[in-house]
């Protein structure tokens, strides 16, 4: 069955068209075209918008706004986003990174969506045609969302303030066993004054590790200092079992890799 593709010059017009049953928004195609290739007959058509703002990156005064159509490759090579380059480069191989968008990554189910893990740790704001939402709320409601994501905004952490780790069995490119992003601030004496920890592949979508965040506050990033955080980093997780790893394995290795990320 043919799949109708409709292209609109504005997000507003595309949003109206997306109300039709069976339609999906087409970004880079790495999720939705894959779905039709796999025989998802619930999809009858694609909607997309060529509004220029969707492809823009603006960095000003430490505030970042990335249009939803911006690709992982564009983020990885942007001189002001070097902090995020490791997370962008963790997505797929070179061809996928030239196609996969930041907007699409917000919808990628585990074991994909490594970049969204970084956005969650950054406490990003997701802008849609229906308004703005904190990324955590957006991820929680994404299955029922029909709004078009227009951009993602966040405040850049200080240099060294974002740590990203993706664990995969195949090098250099592989699907995630798990991924972790930590956005930490430290007081002059080295104790952690602020912490946001996000986990990938430890649930069906990226999740915050709040118990570990709290356990890090006031502690130094030493083997003894992080021990309480390692003990609780798995609280509330419900990782999938898939061909990459079992839920048991993911839970077993999470504290090991979390420790390496904090001490590295």
């Amino acid at each position: 069955m043919a799949l109708a593709l409709q292209t609109f010059s504005t997000v507003k017009d595309a949003s109206a068209a997306l109300k039709s049953a069976g339609t999906l928004y087409l970004g880079g195609g790495t999720l939705v075209v894959r779905a039709t290739n796999e025989g998802d007959v619930s999809i009858s058509g694609f909607i997309r918008s060529t509004e220029p703002s969707l492809s823009a990156i603006t960095v000003s005064g430490g505030k970042v706004r990335i249009g939803a159509s911006v690709t992982m490759a564009a983020i990885a090579r942007h001189p002001d986003l070097a902090l995020l380059a490791p997370a962008a480069r963790a997505v797929g191989g070179p061809a996928i990174r030239n196609m996969a968008t930041i907007g699409g990554n917000l919808f990628a189910p585990a074991p994909y969506g490594d970049f969204a893990v970084a956005l969650l740790a950054l406490d990003a704001i997701v802008s849609t045609g229906d308004g703005d939402l904190p990324v955590e709320a957006f991820l929680a409601g994404r299955d029922n969302s029909r709004a078009i994501v227009t951009s993602v905004g966040f405040t850049l952490p200080k240099d060294g303030g974002l740590r990203f780790l993706k664990v995969s069995r195949v090098k250099p490119k592989g699907i995630s066993v798990l991924s972790i992003t930590a956005v930490l601030e430290q007081a002059p004496d080295g104790t952690v004054s602020s912490s946001r920890i996000a986990l990938g592949c430890m649930a069906d979508r990226p999740m915050r590790a709040r118990a570990a965040e709290n356990a890090l506050l006031g502690r130094k990033l030493t083997r003894d200092g992080i021990a309480p955080a390692l003990a609780v980093v798995g609280d509330g997780t419900s990782p999938p079992t898939d061909p990459i790893a079992s839920a048991w394995y993911r839970n077993e290795v999470l504290p090991v890799h979390f420790g390496r990320l904090l001490l590295g």
């Binding site: 043919a2 799949l3 593709l5 796999e38 797929g92 061809a95 030239n98």
Partner: protein
């Protein structure tokens, strides 16, 4: 459903076709235009066998809708040879026995071409990274890596 027109440049030649809306570029190239050099492997974006170059960027034709390529410059392995001779990358793959079953080869060569277009003298690590989205199920990665490095050296000597 009515057919939709697509028009793009394929390996330097203008191509225009009427296709079903929603047709992937891989399908359009292979079954409408007759360029069978991009291979349909996984159709999931995992294997890289369908890799082509669109407007200078490596893309996966199995996940690209042909309608989104109107006006684009599309390059495939079929357009690499010039004057009846093999492209240096094709020659290097042949000489290094970097093609076993050959199914992944067109995608590997396009990924390598993008690398060498931007990084004429890559390190081994850069070659590995550039090919990281392309799977060889014969697992002949080492000869492929060596072929790309050999092609890079050959290019450098030709330029010098």
């Amino acid at each position: 459903m009515a057919k939709v027109p697509v028009q793009f440049t394929l390996n330097g030649s203008e191509k225009a076709e009427f296709i079903d809306s929603g047709t992937t570029l891989l399908h359009a190239l292979r079954d409408k235009i007759g360029d069978t050099s991009p291979k349909g492997g996984c159709h999931q974006g995992t294997c890289g066998a369908c890799s082509i170059i669109i407007d200078g960027e490596l893309r996966l034709s199995c996940l690209t809708l042909a309608e989104t390529c109107n006006g684009a410059d599309v390059r495939t392995t079929a357009g690499l040879s010039e004057g009846g001779g093999l492209h240096p990358l094709q020659r290097a793959f042949l000489d290094a026995f970097a093609t076993q079953c050959g199914f992944c080869t067109p995608g590997m060569i396009m990924a390598a071409k993008v690398l060498l277009d931007h990084t004429p003298n890559p390190s081994r690590e850069e070659v590995v990274e550039a090919l990281s989205g392309n799977i060889c199920r014969c697992t002949g990665y080492e000869p492929i890596i060596q072929a790309v490095l050999t092609a890079a050296r050959s290019n450098s000597q030709n330029v010098a």
